[in-house]
Symmetry: C2
């Protein structure tokens, strides 16, 4: 088998056999196939796509490239949630404690912020001492003992994805549905899960701008997951405006804890509960969705989820006192109120622009591996449909570096549109696949 | 400017600006842009193509990547011929001496055999002592003194093409028209020519199987060449069956010399004269094509072209005695006559299969840089339209290694089709662009 013939086959629009895909992934992971041949193959795949069968085999081979978590000895279902990335999306910090408190095991391997979107790992690391990079054995014990582990990918899990993702990033082959599907599903399957709830974001702040694209991705993810023997459900949810009001790492941790205390914003609370309910249902903790929703709500209201979050923080080396004392989290030195120049109703609070503003303040990375500032970010005071008077603050920017403010403000200015009447509200959950 | 953004731009079907193309080619030639990014760009270019403007700038930037030949001090026109590659195509060895003897300067940089096709350099190297790899200064002096140089690409000429071609070869991006155009035209323009005659082969033994593909390539080559200020003409010529009767390096040199002596096969003689006539016309040696044809024919018949070939051999270190004594060329130890199994007329003598047979005997390379055997090859006794009796030799295989015979014979067997009646003959010259 010659790599160039496989590139040519894909280039000409033909499907690869399982043996051919295995040859490519194994050879590439071992370093026998050079980056330049894989880069040509990736671009040919962007061009020609992959069948479901090819995507499935690709996913399986990527799982096989490394070690996997095994929880065969635990009787409870292992369930995870994965989001395709949004702005202000801190549902993981709310729903993981809810699901774990309800008796579902949550081996959650998350990522870092990418472009204008936030990442669960970055948010958690704003808690002093919290460690997200743990060896496989530690993760396994956390899931056993605490019921949840909120961690990062290890060197041992799906090494093929790490190599492929780095290459896709520099060869403009990130936005390729079968490659996205294999990347997401291989990491999730390697977590040793039985079931997975997918939160596929749609809208101005999501990677998928149209519902058609998002639905296509959701269907392929669900299809591949089910063919691998997992219970999978996908929710298409709105990402035209940020979720909740906080954007930026420590600010989002605070909003998550507020939500766990029953005081969070409605949309964040509603989506976290809904995703958690689906996790409980897929994890066999409830007979139907109504019962699952009720169970999730009860656990949140009882304070059991808040306690579970405290336990998770402590188990992963963090300072659990942050739960009661937000001042122990990093705090920005400066703040700036961005005020409405006219009276009216908020018609748009553009998620991508607000996410970019937060990133520019230092909450995210303009370059891979750049350090981030956990304290900075924004609080959005006025969301779509809310009335505003002239001079009233639309949002507050929290920052540490004067020089970063102007570019961030430019984004904020472009993000808000004030009109005469409120638009019809976007439904938070658009569809279930 | 970031490479990944340029890859994305091409991937999305947009045209690159001249500055962007310059950035890519300069960065790649200098080694600042890695192979994997260029590989992704090449595949995106296969997918989306290039405009004529992009192809032109690409060609110019490739020329600029190295040194060029300069003949500004010579009053005569500098004219070259380039073929897209065929089987048994030894016209260069006939027409270069004709054109040089007619007073046109011929700085001809040729290539080696590729797949089933032969290469002018390999053929010339079957002449004992003949040197094709010469420094730029030597080439310049040969063109000045002898009127022609039949040489290989040097390290100094179009280094971007050398790097790009090697990468295309292993990333399945060879068959991409704008890349082919830039590769051919950059090398020709770097020769310092004023005019170029292109022989674009069409048919079963050519890289372009259909006339439409060949015409598209020819038009783009002519277009880019003219925009670079060169006089360019392209002939679409038949490559369904081999040109002439000899395939294989020394065998083709002998056939070329026979043609220069007035005894060669009709098709080889006719095409060599026609291409030479176009060179003379573009090189301002004749007022019209009729006069140019007459001039070429006269030079061939007078023996002046044969004398020029002898002079070229001697000037490039070869043994000029081969012209009168073919036994000084490498000779194969064994021969095998492949005979007709039925009586009839030759309906097909498949050029690619016969070229592959010759390659398998050792005349060409299965792998890059493999050594070749200059003595081996085939002589085709019966071409399309010729009658044959049962048991009569269709072709003779010349070989040195018994083990190579069976695979070559397989190809020869599949190459010949004998029928009841002769098909209408393919015209040798299909079109002029």
């Amino acid at each position: 088998m010659r790599v160039v013939d496989l590139i040519r086959k894909k280039r000409d629009g033909r499907a690869l056999t399982p043996e051919e895909i295995a040859f490519l992934i194994r050879g590439y992971t071992r370093g026998e196939i050079p980056d330049y041949q894989m880069a040509a193959f990736l671009m040919a795949t962007m061009w020609r796509g992959m069948t479901v069968e090819e995507t499935l085999v690709l996913t399986e081979e990527m799982v096989r490239s490394g070690r996997t978590l095994e929880f065969g000895h635990l009787p409870e279902a292992k369930v995870d949630k994965h989001s395709t990335g949004g702005v202000g999306d801190k549902t993981s910090l709310v729903l993981a404690p809810i699901a774990a408190a309800a008796g579902v095991r949550v081996p959650m391997i998350s990522g870092r912020g990418l472009a204008h979107t936030g990442g669960t790992l970055d948010k958690l690391e704003s808690i002093p001492g919290f460690r997200v990079q743990l060896p496989l054995e530690r993760i396994r014990r956390l899931v056993e003992r605490v019921g949840a582990a909120l961690v990062g990918q290890t060197e041992e899990i799906v090494p093929a994805d790490r190599k492929l993702y780095a290459l896709r990033d520099v060869t403009a082959t990130v936005e390729c549905v079968p490659l996205i599907v294999a990347s997401i599903m291989s990491k999730k399957v390697a977590e040793g899960i039985d079931a997975l709830v997918l939160d596929v974001k749609v809208g101005k702040g999501a990677f998928m701008k149209s519902e058609a694209e998002a639905r296509d991705l959701a269907e392929r993810l669900v299809d591949v997951g089910r063919r691998m023997g997992k219970r999978v459900r996908a929710l298409l949810t709105d990402m035209n405006q940020p979720l909740g009001r906080a954007i930026g790492n420590a600010l989002e941790v605070i909003e998550s804890m507020e939500t766990l205390k029953g005081r969070g914003p409605d949309d964040l609370r509603a989506l976290s509960l809904e995703l958690a309910a689906h996790m409980l249902l897929l994890g066999d903790r409830a007979a139907d969705l109504a019962e699952a929703r009720h169970m999730a709500e009860r656990i949140l209201q009882s304070g059991a989820a808040l306690e579970k979050f405290r336990e998770i923080i402590e188990a992963q080396g963090g300072d659990p006192r942050v739960v009661d004392d937000y001042a122990r989290l990093p705090q920005a030195r400066f703040r700036f109120d961005y005020r409405a120049e006219a009276e009216g109703v908020v018609v748009e609070a553009h998620a991508e622009r607000l996410g970019t503003a937060s990133m520019l303040l230092g909450a995210g990375r303009e370059q891979l591996h750049a350090p981030i500032d956990h304290a900075v970010g924004l609080i959005v005071h006025k969301k779509v449909g809310e009335p505003v008077t002239r001079g009233e603050a639309l949002c507050t920017l929290y920052y540490n570096d004067d020089k970063r403010l102007p570019r961030a403000l430019e984004q904020v200015r472009a993000a808000f549109v004030i009109g005469a009447t409120a638009p019809p509200p976007d439904p938070l959950i658009r569809a279930i696949v």
